[in-house]
Symmetry: C2
């Protein structure tokens, strides 16, 4: 049952890391602090309108059918089987675009969640993954490794997108992440183009072994195993080459004591798993210094690894 | 400190399943009942000799340097740093050769374990994986997904062989396996030749997703997830084509209620995970009937999924 005309709700969806180790397209993690906010208001005039987009530097499309917030909102109405309801959306971008932090996913998640609230919660959170997937599919491919953690929080395994099969994985006690985003633009489509169509069977074996060990380490709390399993011989080595200073930032993170470090999503953000929030601070400082040596300015974020997903503000 | 001249020890090493779902080359499981036995005796004359091989139908090499039992025994002496000790080995094959049940691994494991006992246990069990790996390398490639479970028991993840990194994974409560071995000969090298050198990136993504979900299911006890994660789109579909009646046996297993079914190792054995020992009996009967329709006779084994590894008799 939709809430009355005039009702306004606001939802915040967090950033997310993806391509964790050998989890290309299948593992994602919600992080704290930064994210996108969507305000949704029930209005009398039927239809879905995106009436404001702020914080994007004017680069995002503002019609509902082209913006991931609008697409996810529309998909949520459709999945809920609701017609003729009037909704106005406002999107406040807290995340940089094309940064590898799940910016398009956060907009979609905040919008889907806000619209579902306005409709009186006809859908469960997990069903909203499908709304958001449709938005991602329109922008960068049908992958759920950002939308699922941004919705559900924590570390999420996306086993399949068709049909959706999403599994929460526990996070090591006290684990933190440091994320450094250099001032470089990498478009998701470019980052996809460096991916190989085919990979050596030996690489598949190494990556299946690593992701299996990574999941086992998450369940057993074995930090040493966790650290040596955050590895990827297929995707990260190609993507890091697109990032000026990226390889040095990863090396600096490991030298500063990070458990593991790699490219988040399509880049250029680099994440580092750390044993504590304090260490994450030291690690990100070392990573920023590495970028600086390449003349690249950057922004650092630190977060506990076990963070909530989307929430109402 | 080697035990006195004249001492005899006997070790039994169980069969093992490998290529469990998407765990090609990385997941293996010890099973109960069938296995190989090695008797080792300290003698005065220095050197390692294989003095008898029984139960192989006369097809295995009987010199210590060519038989996996002899190679693993020699590697154990070398790793223990022991020279000039006299040891005689007798190998009793309980496992059919070239059956996909880890026959060469069981011989190696029983021999390495028996020799280590005779030497006064200078090496830990996990160190014996390396001895056995050398034997496997001489026969069918440097893979540890049979020797590790045959040594350690249970379900084992081999993350790497160089350096060795082996992780025990818990087994679902009450889980059983049925294994049917058709009277067909598939040589490991032939089964390796049907493997592709390269696989589509999408197949790698599917297999990493499935093995991650499989490991998560083992830790959480989620049977439904376990069942839908025993999948492999790369290796099993090619190997099953070499096995007359194999595809029908897998279908019969699933129809009879198995949680999952696939080719073990290089084949031709087909395994099926089942919810109970009783069900494993029904499932293997259905699998044998499927083989029979192809005019293929077969042998069935049922076992709890959580079985001990090598032991002294």
């Amino acid at each position: 049952m939709p809430l009355p005309i005039g009702t306004t709700v606001r939802a915040f969806a967090p950033a997310s890391l993806s391509n964790l180790g050998s989890g290309f397209d299948v593992l994602g993690l919600a992080i704290d602090g930064a994210g996108d906010t969507v305000t949704a208001r029930r209005v009398a005039a039927p239809g879905l309108r995106l009436v404001a987009v702020r914080g994007d530097g004017g680069v995002l499309p503002t019609d509902a059918a082209s913006n991931t917030a609008g697409i996810a909102a529309g998909a949520t109405l459709e999945l809920a089987g609701v017609n003729g309801v009037g909704i106005e959306l406002e999107l406040d971008k807290g995340l940089p675009i094309g940064s590898g932090l799940g910016s398009s996913a956060a907009s979609a998640v905040a919008a889907a969640y806000a619209v579902n609230l306005l409709l009186g919660k006809p859908l469960r959170k997990r069903q909203l993954v499908e709304s958001c997937l449709r938005a991602e599919a329109a922008i960068s491919g049908r992958h759920a490794d950002n939308v699922a953690p941004s919705l559900l929080g924590g570390l999420v395994l996306v086993r399949r997108v068709d049909p959706l099969d999403v599994i929460r994985i526990p996070v090591l006690e006290g684990l933190a992440v440091g994320v450094v985003t250099p001032d470089l633009v990498i478009h998701t489509k470019m980052a996809r183009e460096v991916l190989p169509d085919r990979v050596p069977l030996t690489s598949m074996v190494a990556n299946t072994a690593d992701i299996a060990a990574f999941v086992a380490a998450c369940f057993t709390g074995d930090r040493a195993l966790f650290a040596r399993s955050i590895d990827d011989c297929v995707v990260a080595p190609r993507r890091v080459e697109l990032i000026e200073g990226g390889a040095d930032a990863i090396e600096a993170a490991l030298d500063a004591g990070a458990l593991g470090s790699s490219v988040s999503g399509a880049g250029p953000s680099i994440f580092a798993f750390c044993g504590s929030m304090r260490q994450a601070g030291e690690v990100t400082a070392a990573m920023r210094a590495a970028f600086r040596e390449h003349g690249v300015d950057s922004t650092a974020r630190v977060s506990p690894a076990d963070c909530p997903g989307v929430r109402q503000l």
